[in-house]
Subunit: 339 residues, 2 copies
């Protein structure tokens, strides 16, 4: 069976996660997950002349780290699926230019990494690709000046704002998964959901309805409940968005035990680091999945994880025109199989 | 077989093109293909308050036109794949918000429509979707002020510049294709190719190398030659880019009879309309495919078409930082089966 219910893909040939890599910036490298990430940058310019070039270089390095770990020869990598927050997703496409494999550009805002896992897994399970590199990144400095204000202004943020993570995560999916213990077993598409949040600083509120919609669809489509998962990890709802998700679930009588629900963005920084509502950005869920969650699964701590990445599909232009902030969320189920 | 060669997908269950729709702006509606398009707008604001809202409305209407023609009930449409040139692809995502089905956001610049056909067809052939709506749009006014200059400035363009088309095309792919005569039978991914063109106005030169790369890969992967196709239609290389493609092919001893090669962008406007190198934008290949080429195939004029959409993966930021313009191209083979 390849399809379940409304919007979920069941992978008859679930691809293995053959390798993963994560890179984070200095601030992220002083947070609670510091010791888990593969690389913590000391220089968030990565020796480059601009923030955009820095983010491109971060993507390139992270992709290369994952490829090296997979032991696949470079020329054997058949596609890169990914995106980022930069206009025209230049961090991903320019990295793809250097890396050289076919590139499938995606955009789901901060959900892009999970979107890549879902689409990449379908292409592998369907026999179109033997492997696929799924990558997503974000950088505090590229995002701030594109979406909000120049850094030099020192503009204050409200408490509900999240902080775009300087981070990248890459996972190499392989249809031939000998020896790998993690597989992507199902994926759920997202609908664009908008409950009229107009505060462009309140990403948690804007995305929580989409996370609820996709999570509910995934559980309904698979016939499961939250109890069937060891952990449900949202991407970057943040502290406030997480509470809103639980409230939406309660109102719909969908049981989500709070102790099973974590948020990658809320896990990324200590409160004392003043990241307000928590980390966000495409690289948030990507780095925390690859750096922390997948490693915990490989260590045997969990058998079944549901990753629900979400994105806010606004642009500065849409916000300036007074539009509300639509959200979208993708879900991917990762399972450990004991050898 | 689902995979051929380096980067081509062969669809074991080739989806039918169950319906298509096209909308173009007033200038496009005075060009050589005027009578072919389903809708020619008299008001390129579509009654909206901003150009961005206009483009969102154009996408919504075009998508609805295709759905209506397919006779599928609204709730039966399982996914929308698409993108546009607006930052954060807001025309597509905001239209998806209104339309309500799951949304897979893509970005390949002006190649996005063909990218949607390739990925959508794979998801249908692989059994993950029963149908998929592939849409892409562009609007002269949203593109000009985002990529270049405010319209009110009346800035001159050099001769090699193309003109972003105000246009949208939508094709509804259906795995259950009873009665439909056109199918998408194969698709080829693109690599990001950059031969160091730094003139951000010369999209033809920036993209020709990528078109050549993907076209050569498609022919090699399928074991075919250009003679196996009734027509090869590039997206928006324009007049100059087409010549460059032929030159690249000749240098590589890849035979492409010039009479078999057309360009959607070069076909969209009369020379007298002063569109310089020709039309461009995501909506160019989308509208010309859906409005003209597919109809010609359905009328029996052609049996096998190769559509090669290309995109220039620059952003204003990358150009302003002195970066060259990388290109990418996707190919989709559309074939007519006689009932």
């Amino acid at each position: 069976m390849s399809r379940a219910g409304q919007q979920t893909f069941i992978y008859d040939n679930p691809p293995a996660i053959a390798a993963h890599a994560s890179i984070v910036g200095p601030k992220e490298g002083r947070g609670p997950l510091a010791d888990w990430f593969d690389t913590v940058l000391s220089d968030d310019l990565l020796g480059q002349k601009s923030w955009e070039l820095a983010e491109m270089e971060m993507v390139r390095r992270c992709a290369r780290d994952a490829i090296c770990r997979s032991r696949l020869p470079d020329e054997a990598v058949q596609a890169m699926l990914g995106g980022d927050l930069n206009n025209q997703i230049i961090a991903s496409s320019f990295a793809a230019r250097t890396l050289g494999m076919p590139f499938i550009g995606l955009y789901g805002a901060c959900s892009t990494f999970v979107q890549a896992l879902v689409i990449g897994s379908a292409l592998i399970s369907g026999g179109f690709l033997e492997n696929a590199l799924c990558v997503a990144s974000s950088h505090y400095c590229t995002a701030e000046r594109q979406f909000r204000f120049p850094l030099e202004l020192g503009t204050q943020k409200p408490p509900q704002a999240s902080r775009t993570a300087t981070a990248c995560g890459a996972a190499l999916l392989n249809g031939n998964g000998d020896g790998a213990v993690l597989r992507v077993t199902s994926g759920t598409l997202g609908r664009v959901i908008d409950l009229n949040i107009t505060d462009a600083n309140h990403m948690g509120a804007a995305m929580a309805p989409a996370v609820f919609d996709t999570l509910a669809a995934h559980l309904s489509d698979t016939g499961r409940t939250a109890d069937d998962y060891d952990l449900i990890a949202t991407g970057d709802l943040g502290w406030i968005g997480r509470d809103l998700l639980l409230a939406l679930a309660e109102a719909a009588k969908l049981a989500i035990p709070p102790e099973k629900l974590i948020d990658c963005g809320a896990s990324l920084f200590y409160q004392a680091q003043d990241a307000h509502a928590g980390g966000s950005g495409c690289g948030c869920v990507a780095s925390v999945s690859c750096g922390w969650l997948m490693k915990r699964m490989e260590a045997g701590e969990m058998k079944r994880l549901l990753l629900v990445g979400s994105g806010a599909m606004l642009s500065p232009t849409s916000s300036q025109q007074g539009q509300s902030v639509p959200g979208i969320a993708y879900a991917a189920c990762i399972e450990r199989s004991d050898p």
